[in-house]
């Protein structure tokens, strides 16, 4: 495997790419297109799952056809092969090549390196040179490669017939017929035309939009992007003028207060923030534990950020901004913090909410802590979440500046070329009054993701002229012309990250289907010129750079994935005055009481863009561990009040809109609130998405899409079975908050026993008092653990036979792990782990090799939470190995617990004897089912990893294929040992907080060997003498003594 940083020439696709002669090689994947188009003939959305009847039908039909062929009526299909008589210079079959590109979700941009296996993109990794990813990633980016191969993608242009049904068309017809319509539109300067776009952070796209605006001056542009940081943008603009953007930087922050900000999960730049946050939580021993940052969180719904928090306050969504106002009252009033210049008059205008004693205590302590931090010149940061109104964002930035964090943990910058799209409310109004007659949606889906109050799904009927997207989504189904859009791995583009890092999006593969990118289509709509994406992007940068442009520069950008040396406007905005903030405060909506419904971006599906992605549907929700569904999350007290249990249906009515959703009791949820994640309940999107969850958008209000109060919530009657991968959430069986059943039965099976020492944690004070706290949980002291075997030369290295020069091991820092679940998806992508589907997860048969165990502790209503990644521990004396009757699992000399799939006969004894329960069984032939065995999905498979068959056990291999690659490379380089850092396993690679260390524990200088010497290092269930190779660094919390 070529390592990302090694070779320059590997990073762009071909010479043709940067010479401007790039033409999509029509036949790069000859089989794929034929395969793709044949399936579409029968129905618009090819059924990925063949029903039994249909299968039998096809069987009969194919038998009949087989009969026909003998009479010579049918030809055999043409098959293509790739005869590389002369091998291209930089292509070695079987050796992966990495290309730099970038992906966008809302305003978040992640720089990526994408692994390409013989021309197929197979795995996404972070680009270490890109500031927003720093070589790391998230589960959305990890999952996006599967979306490329989604069999349900829109493959050919579709035209709406007179009968209201789509029929397959082709681009020539589109050019001709739609071209004529567009010509008329251009003549009328776009009168009555609406262009609906997602957040545009692409410089070349913005440039093309300029042309569009020139040509169609009367057309209106709307923004439809639920994942966008709109409130943050509006807040920054409120305070610092148009074009202002605020970004947070936690690298130096010692005190972080998150107000409804899930900055580790779904907020803007969460990957970078998670990394910076984790750096601030690094602890090497009791001596530096005090330097750790402290995190406060105020939120209605238990997020992974709340799980990390040292202090968490659960409040209604509408109360969060009030608490922020209370905090500023406390700071600017009582503690006498000075407002920045221009802030005069704010104190009087701020709302003065009534706080409960608990809230008051929290805010007072937080204000004191912030003030003390300022006095001690310790940077702090107040983060306001996207769900909160613009004024709260402005206030947050203001407090940050007052605390001296401006330019440090909070930075303002100017985004002068931003497109100010009108909101969807304006679109609804325009459609209502008839001023908008035609709508063009490029990569946007207002018929689905607009707030339900706007009724756009109805209003758009008959109005959508063009829809371009990867799927025939809800808007596509209404469109006159539903056009196939290119996936980002198939298209050229560029993206500017929130911190203004620009990267070029370069395709990894020619479009699999007959698709165009939104940029290409927009250029055509605007100017009637069919320009390919490469020319648009490269042409744009050629113009921007002018004489500075050279092929060398362009190639460097493509290689690095980061654009450098471009001219920038040097204005740095700062808080100007608070007049607009004060006027915004006047319009604050009051809480209408009753139940409050909160809406959240889904940690897995985002705004729904990954709804048809099997990996992400099946990834457990980071906190609730639900898969394949969203649910109405309510607190235990609310559940008691409503008389409901998990899976009972709940009827939620607000503003005349109604939604029936299953209940999931989420400890830590604010009372009398309901939280719903967006992105589910898709209407005929694809085989994976259909039937998963309920559509929360339909309940959203137009004025504030994120929370709405005054809702009526009642038990609906009936149940919908929804499945979580973790039923039990406590290490003390006596108190299990996620299992209200115990409560109902009145039985506490574990009463009287100490809670299980699986996860070990302490506080900073506790660590100082007892530096050996992490060893205290052992049931049997280490010196009393005796083994039957004589140990070999390395006294540390366990049982005999560990003769390898290098001994692999892993250390996971529980202080850094946020539980974001990116590792689960990365592992799935790397190791060809099939998707088992909703039903099989319900049967408890998910195949994930790494799971994130989430445990609650403390009070049932308002618990604290910890997460613990659990994967094969590669025990040196592995219990699984001696019980296998056929030696299908055995130990390598380098300390790996190897699994020989070919030898496995499937007795599952190893799974029973694994105390960590990390072994997974192929109960069915999952890899041969319709979802996993589709010819497109197969293209994603990693050729270095066996695709497992029915009846065998599988489990984490420590990415043995990556270890072997590194060993081969070291061997060819003439080195005896693999260098430290040469092996990066998939979960370690993606981990945004860098919680995982992997390497050679026999080398005392390796990072992992050093981590194993940490005072916090402990093994799980070492009392069983398993001698696990995966160990954990115990968690240290940093609570405020005043709040304890």
């Amino acid at each position: 495997m070529t390592k990302p940083t090694e070779s320059l020439k590997n990073y762009w696709r071909s010479l043709g790419d940067h010479d401007g002669t790039h033409a999509a090689p029509a036949d790069e994947f000859p089989g794929a297109e034929t395969a793709a188009t044949t399936a579409t003939t029968e129905s618009l959305l090819p059924a990925a799952k063949l029903a039994r009847r249909k299968f039998t039908g096809l069987l009969g039909a194919s038998t009949a056809l087989a009969g026909l062929t003998t009479t010579g009526c049918l030809r055999k299909p043409v098959e293509h092969i790739l005869p590389l008589a002369k091998r291209p210079e930089d292509m070695i079959p079987g050796q992966a090549i990495y290309y730099a590109t970038a992906i966008q979700v809302g305003h978040s941009v992640l720089g990526l390196l994408v692994e390409s296996q013989d021309g197929r993109p197979t795995k996404i990794e972070g680009n270490p040179r890109h500031s927003s990813s720093n070589g790391r990633g998230d589960l959305w980016a990890q999952g996006s490669v599967l979306s490329l191969y989604d069999p349900d993608r829109c493959r050919v242009p579709h035209k709406l017939g007179a009968d209201g049904k789509h029929s397959a068309s082709d681009w020539d017809t589109v050019t001709e017929e739609l071209g004529a319509t567009l010509k008329e539109l251009r003549q009328s300067q776009g009168e009555g035309l609406a262009l609906v776009l997602p957040t545009i952070v692409s410089p070349s796209y913005r440039d093309t939009l300029k042309t569009f605006k020139e040509k169609l001056a009367k057309a209106r542009i709307f923004t439809d992007d639920a994942a966008a940081a709109s409130n943050a943008v509006a807040g920054a603009e409120l305070l610092a003028g148009p074009g202002s953007r605020a970004t947070y930087h936690l690298g130096s922050a010692k005190l972080i207060a998150a107000f409804d900000a899930d900055f580790l999960g779904t907020e803007l730049d969460h990957v970078r923030l998670a990394g910076e946050y984790a750096d601030g939580r690094k602890v090497s021993g009791p001596e530096d534990a005090g330097d750790m940052s402290r995190l406060y969180s105020v939120e209605p719904h238990f997020t992974i950020t709340g799980a990390q928090a040292d202090h968490r306050l659960r409040v209604r969504g509408s109360q969060v901004s009030g608490l922020l106002a209370a905090l500023s009252n406390e700071l600017f009033g009582k503690l006498g913090l000075r407002l920045p210049p221009g802030g005069e008059g704010l104190t009087a205008a701020l709302p003065k909410p009534e706080l409960s004693p608990e809230q008051d205590k929290f805010i007072v302590a937080l204000a004191k802590d912030l003030n003390a931090a300022k006095a001690a010149r310790r940077p702090s940061a107040i983060l306001v979440g996207e769900r909160q109104p613009a004024w709260a964002h402005a206030l947050g930035v203001l407090i940050n500046y007052a605390l001296g964090n401006g330019g440090n943990t909070v930075r303002l910058r100017n985004d002068d070329s931003a497109i100010a799209g009108e909101p969807l409310t304006a679109l609804a109004a325009g459609l209502g009054d008839g001023s908008i007659k035609q709508v063009i949606c490029l990569d946007s889906n207002p018929a689905y993701d607009a707030p339900g109050e706007l009724g756009l799904a109805e209003a758009l009927k008959g109005k959508v002229l063009v829809h371009l997207g990867t799927h025939v989504d809800e808007t596509g189904q209404l469109a006159q012309w539903c056009l196939p859009g290119s996936h980002y791995l198939e298209s050229w583009g560029d993206l500017e990250a929130a911190d203004s890092t620009v990267s070029i999006v370069q395709p990894l593969i020619a479009p699999l289907h007959n698709s165009k990118s939104a940029l290409e289509l927009l250029a055509w709509i605007a100017s009637d010129a069919q320009i390919d994406g490469y020319s648009l992007v490269q042409g744009y940068w050629r113009t921007v750079l002018g004489p500075m442009y050279s092929d060398r520069v362009w190639r460097r950008w493509l290689h690095d994935g980061v654009v450098q040396g471009i001219p920038r406007a040097g204005i740095t905005p700062s808080p100007r005055d608070v007049t607009s903030l004060i006027s915004a405060l006047a319009k604050v909506e009051a809480d209408a009481g009753k139940f409050e419904v909160n809406f959240h971006l889904d940690p897995k599906l985002a705004d729904g863009r990954y709804a048809n992605n099997g990996w992400l549907q099946e990834a457990p929700h980071p906190m609730t561990k639900l898969t394949w569904d969203n649910a109405a999350y309510i607190s235990i007290a609310t559940a008691r009040k409503l008389g409901v249990e998990n899976c009972d249906l709940l009827s939620i009515t607000v503003g005349g809109r109604n939604l029936v959703a299953p209940v999931w009791i989420a400890p830590g949820q604010a009372d009398d609130t309901v939280s719903l994640t967006l992105g589910y309940g898709r209407r005929n999107l694809g085989a994976v998405a259909n039937g998963a969850g309920v559509d929360a958008y339909s309940l959203q209000a137009a004025s504030n899409p994120w929370f709405v109060s005054g809702a009526d919530v009642v038990k609906f009657g009936g149940r919908r079975l929804i499945y979580s991968t973790q039923d039990h959430g406590s290490l003390d069986p006596a108190v299990d908050p996620s299992s209200p059943k115990d409560d109902a039965v009145g039985i506490n099976p574990g009463r009287g026993y100490p809670s299980r020492p699986i996860v070990r944690e302490t506080t900073v004070e506790g660590f100082k008092k007892d530096p050996d706290f992490s060893q205290k949980g052992d049931l049997i002291a280490k010196e009393n653990l005796r083994s039957l075997w004589d140990h070999n030369v390395h006294p540390d290295l366990g049982a005999p036979k560990l003769t390898g020069a290098q001994q692999w091991g892993m250390v996971i820092d529980l202080n850094s792990c946020t539980g974001c679940t990116a590792c689960t998806v990365a592992c799935q992508a790397e190791n060809n782990i099939p998707v088992v589907g909703r039903k099989e997860v319900g049967n408890g048969r998910e195949l994930h090799w790494i799971r994130l165990d989430r445990y609650y502790s403390g009070a049932k209503e308002d618990p604290a939470a910890v997460v613990q990644p659990m994967l094969c521990q590669h025990c040196e004396t592995a219990p699984c190995e001696n019980v296998c009757p056929v030696q299908a699992t055995s130990h390598s000399p380098e300390g790996l617990n190897d699994m020989t799939y070919n030898r496995c006969i499937g007795t599952r004894y190893c799974a029973n004897n694994c105390p960590y329960k990390v072994r997974r069984f192929n109960f069915f032939n999952y890899n041969k089912d319709a979802v996993n065995d589709h010819e497109l999905v197969r293209m994603q498979k990693n050729p270095d990893v066996t695709v497992r068959f029915r009846g065998v056990i599988e489990k984490c291999s420590y990415c043995v294929q990556r270890i072997q690659e590194a060993k081969i490379q070291a061997h060819s380089a003439g080195e005896e040992l693999v260098k430290e850092g040469a092996i990066v396993v998939a979960c370690q690679q993606v981990c945004p907080s860098g919680a995982i260390a992997f390497g050679d524990i026999a080398d005392p200088n390796s990072k992992v060997a050093k981590a194993r010497l940490s005072k916090r290092n402990y093994g799980v269930l070492t009392d069983l003498n398993t001698r696990p190779r995966t160990t954990y660094l115990a968690r240290v919390r940093n609570p405020n003594p005043e709040l304890v």
Partner: protein, 471 residues
């Protein structure tokens, strides 16, 4: 009525007669051989019911092989479910036969002669059912032979450290020895059948398997020696099989499985369930085939006493498990056992305790242990209880083990039920065939316990005159 019943006493020894009604040698041959020779409509009903249950097994296994073990209710923590429960259940049942034929033989317990043939047959059929389960429960049953030490060019060898491999050897050895033991014991009776056969086909078949037995003293000499040797060989196997089966659990480190008490506890449980199954089979058989004078109340009572003894031992083992779990101070261990009492599967545990510990205590009452109907009902309860014991051990230990994150619940699917039902189909089909074609009592052996067989026997004056010796 049981209370009105009085045992006949041997006039010479004063002990209870093992065969009642003052029958002659010929009467015994007739009583045993006639049902085989004369078709019986009741047999056909039983056979057809069993055969249709066997058909269910065929469907269940066909679907299993087609789809995979996913059709059962197994999941991630509970990787062993009904298949293993059924395996241990059937192996357990397969214990009584060899115990009766071998151990009781060595201990000169002559009452065994009336019941050993049927119970040995039961053993063999139960072991066949048992062997079925580990075979089909494997994920890839078509390569199950890899667990045998077959020399191959890749030098791949099974793992001799695995209890599953010990199981392969233990159960297959037990099966082989039991089968041979049973067959050897059958030889004189097969010869009897051959001699009585009226059709050439029957004569040929019985003759083939009778191995030319002519009843000469030399034959008897060899026969007795072989029988004794087999009894000696089979006796340790009775103890070893279930010991090894218990190792499947005891050798692992799972709380609830990892206990040293398992080997004796499993053996006791096996004998307990085996005798219960013998009762379940023989009580109706002796009524239907009018064999009450050969399988007497005394026999039933003796078996009931063994059930009482082993049932109490099992109850002691249950108690001891709890004591050790508490005494060890290991929280995982303690939890595993509290979880049995009060956890999700409390009903399974209490079913087990009620059936296995409480039910046998009724046997203390003479009226009950001498009532065939009461014993039949009791034996059914014991069978149910012993099935649940294996369920409790297998499933409740797995469903809540070390890491609470993995805990899950297991419930069987229709295919689990069909496979269990089907295994009963297989068992009863084989048993029906046995009853139809082979003497279900050891004719020659029973004759040897008749008073007439005693060298000191003097025919009383009212002795039956039709005592024509006939083998």
């Amino acid at each position: 009525m049981a209370t009105a019943y009085h045992d006949e006493l041997d006039p010479l020894l004063g002990r209870k007669n093992l065969v009642e009604g003052g029958v002659s040698y010929h009467d015994i041959t007739e009583a045993v051989a006639t049902p085989i020779e004369v078709p019986n409509s009741r047999w056909w009903i039983a056979f057809l019911i069993s055969l249709s249950m066997l058909g269910v097994l065929g469907i269940a296994l066909g679907y299993l092989f087609w789809m995979g073990t996913g059709i059962w209710g197994l999941n991630n923590p509970i990787a062993w479910g009904w298949a293993i429960v059924n395996f241990v259940f059937w192996v357990g049942i397969g214990h009584a036969g060899t115990l009766i034929s071998a151990v009781l033989f060595l201990f000169r317990q002559k009452w065994r002669t009336s019941i050993n043939r049927a119970s040995e047959a039961m053993t063999i059929f139960a072991v066949i059912c048992a062997l079925l389960f580990p075979t089909v429960h494997a994920g890839r049953p078509w390569v199950l032979y890899w667990s045998l030490p077959l020399p191959n060019q890749m030098s791949m060898w099974p793992n001799f450290r695995s209890p599953l491999l010990w199981d392969v050897f233990a159960v297959s050895t037990y099966f082989t020895v039991s089968l041979l033991f049973w067959y050897v014991g059958l030889i004189p009776d097969l010869a009897t059948m051959r001699d009585r056969a009226k059709t050439p086909m029957r004569r040929f078949a019985y003759g083939l398997f009778a191995l030319g037995w002519r009843g000469s003293t030399r034959h008897w000499l060899h026969y007795e020696k072989a029988y004794l040797i087999f009894a000696g060989l089979a006796t340790p196997l009775v103890l070893s099989v279930h010991t090894v089966v218990s190792f499947d659990f005891a050798v692992s480190q799972l709380p609830g499985w990892h206990t040293t008490i398992f080997p004796p506890y499993f053996v006791a449980g096996a004998i307990f369930s085996g005798f219960a199954m013998v009762l379940t089979l023989l009580v109706p058989l002796r009524a239907w085939f009018k064999l009450g004078h050969l399988i007497t109340i005394k026999h039933l009572e003796n078996m009931a006493k063994i059930i009482l003894l082993t049932g109490t031992m099992v109850g002691y083992a249950y108690a001891m498990e709890f004591f050790i779990a508490w005494y060890s101070g290991n929280p995982y261990e303690s939890y595993a056992f509290t979880n049995r009492l009060f956890g999700d599967y409390w009903w399974a545990y209490w079913t087990m305790v009620s059936c296995n510990v409480i039910t046998p205590q009724f046997i203390w009452f003479k009226a009950i242990r001498r009532s065939p109907l009461a014993l039949f009902v009791l034996s059914i309860f014991v069978n149910i209880g012993m099935w649940f014991e294996r369920f409790v051990i297998t499933v409740t230990s797995l469903h809540h083990d070390f890491l609470p994150s993995s805990w899950d619940y297991y419930s069987p699917t229709v295919w689990d039920v069909a496979t269990l039902l089907g295994s009963f189909g297989l068992f009863f089909t084989l048993f029906c065939i046995f009853v139809r074609f082979l003497p279900m009592l050891a004719i020659a052996e029973v004759k040897s316990v008749l008073p007439q067989a005693d060298p000191h026997y003097h025919a009383p004056h009212h002795a039956p005159t039709s005592g024509k010796e006939h083998h």
